[in-house]
Amino acid sequence: MADLIVPGDKLPIEDPSTVKTTIGPGVYKMPTTHNLIPCSSGVITVETKNSNQLVYIESNNKRYIPHTNDFVIGVVTGVVGESYKVQLQDFSSPVLLGFMAFPNATKKNRPNLKIGSAVYARVLQDIPEIEAELECIDPTTGKEGGFGLLDESGYIFDVELNFARELLFNPKTVFLQLLSTKCQFEIAIGINGKIWIKCGEGLKEKTSDSMETDEEDPATNIKDLRTTLAAANFLIKCQHITQDKLKAELTNAFKGI
Amino acid sequence: MELYSPEGLRIDGRRWNELRRFECKINTHPHSADGSSYVEQGNTKIICMVRGPMEPAMKSQVNATSSTVEVNVSLANFSTFERKKRSKTDKRITELKTTLERTFNECIMGHLYPRTLISVTVQVLAQDGGLLAAMTNAVTLALIDAGIAMYDYVSGVNAGLYDQTSALLDLNTLEENDMCSLTIGVIGKSEKLALVVLEDKLPLDRLESVLAIAIAGSHRIRELMDMEVRKHGNMRLAKVSV
């Protein structure tokens, strides 16, 4: 593991007044003196590229603070004016998702989300002094782009923020690859530590008609349900074990399915 | 003092399976509440008033899919032999209040009244045992009077066990102080229990016999309440047709 830095330490960087510096998480610019200081404890990374330097501190935490362009999963808790009130984490300040922040939304054609529904969305703006805003549109295409309602066939669970970042940003991450050896799944990862996952058909609500027509259905239904839960439990466990124990954990999680 | 004589008589002369005098009235305060009732179960006397469904006063009481039931319990200082000052935050009162709220939240067809508040006020004038049961009965009647849709009556009574052997129905204060007391609330004519509260020790193997007499007692009380509701209803129907 690389170098540990704690608040109060000196940042191992070139003088920011001479070198153009970009700061990332964990580094704070004192508003009065314009000095850069580390404000988190973690692993420091300094990257130098064409005489520019980038500095940030990688650390883990549980509480999410909205930042523009983050992909998040939130739960609709109510309606205020022309927006949904969305909760990204328990007890956090609510954020807003405008009725117009959906593809093809018009004054007449409003989205129809219920209280308790989960949405996958992008943080549109994050001015700390006011409520953050979300949108369900891919800004490059103006289309849905995978955002929107996360239907009830998938399970939602919480992980720590560093693990969520690993899953979302590391294309070579072993966890999802390993999981795919056991089952097919659809997944949506929120940088706010919420993950939506669905294996096979996930949870299917039984309507009275389908039960009679298809007798095979309930069995596969239960299997998909159990697989989804096993996958979720596997990912939760992954956060606290070393890589060499992953295989054993996977077998254990899918035991009996 | 003998609570249960060898001849099978209790301190107030009742038999083991005998209810105290039960009297109830509905629509006692037609102009100050949407529904009201008065219940006397022996010497326990209770007034209950229901307001609503109406606009909630507090934002936190708004439930988008159902009504919110709020119960306020107040025990008059003169309701017991000793005049006691009670603080509003008395744990026992909170327990009674929460129990009633949770009981009736389940029994009222709340989905018919989304975003509304049903406010119930229970005023205890005199206490002589079976307080929770009498409150339950009073609230049921007041809700019916208010025309609020309910799945069924909830009727309640308490019962105890004397000397580890004999089950006694509908305990008064003297009896309650000296033996365990099981209060139940029964749904309609069924054997479904909406509320169960037991205080003081009861041998597990005696539970069934005490529960049986309590259920039977509750059913009888439901009948008595139902008679009153019908009597009142018919009287009103007669008035309308005049």
Partner: protein, 219 residues
Amino acid sequence: MAFQVQMSVLDNSDGSAELIIGNTKVIASVSGPIEPKQRQELPNQASLEIIIRPAKGLSTTREKLLEDKLRALLQSIIIRYKYPRQLISIVVQFLVTDEDPKFTANELNAAINCCYFALIDADIALYSSFASVVSCITENKLIQNPTGKELSQSDSHHVVCFNIQEGKADKILLLESQGEFVQEELFNLLSESVSNAEELHTLQRKYLKEKIDQDYIWK
């Protein structure tokens, strides 16, 4: 001076730490930044809610006093302007204490050091690190980390908290002294405490390193 600490011990808090220092055991939890209640909200910075709960009995004015001292300290160390209109809620629960209730030195010291780890665990932005040491003077002899018994026999007792800049004790953030002592004794004590605080900080780093390793165990 030795202490043991365990971080992320509570599932529901954003940050937590359990600290055993001397005979005192304390657990601290940090939740935040979260939505404040309306009356707590400050327009341009985070508000702090600090609750201290005693090991025995219900919270009294003694705990309120500790809360105020801790608040004064933490207010200057947390970068509150980073979290406008938010709340940071800190609860300190004493589990085992070792001093007569008329003293607060050991508990204050433990609470400060425990909060450091809980705040780091919650990843709350700090201007600098900090470390606190407690000592007492008995018949001109300086005792570091006194037990409850030593404390009650002492002539004066002191809690000093330094902020740590680049591994060195820098400024005094808090100094709590009670009893009879002379200027010379105090200065002597302060210079002793500097080295103690720096020693403590090396230990802090060790534990923080372990925490990072634990957090990224899956890497």
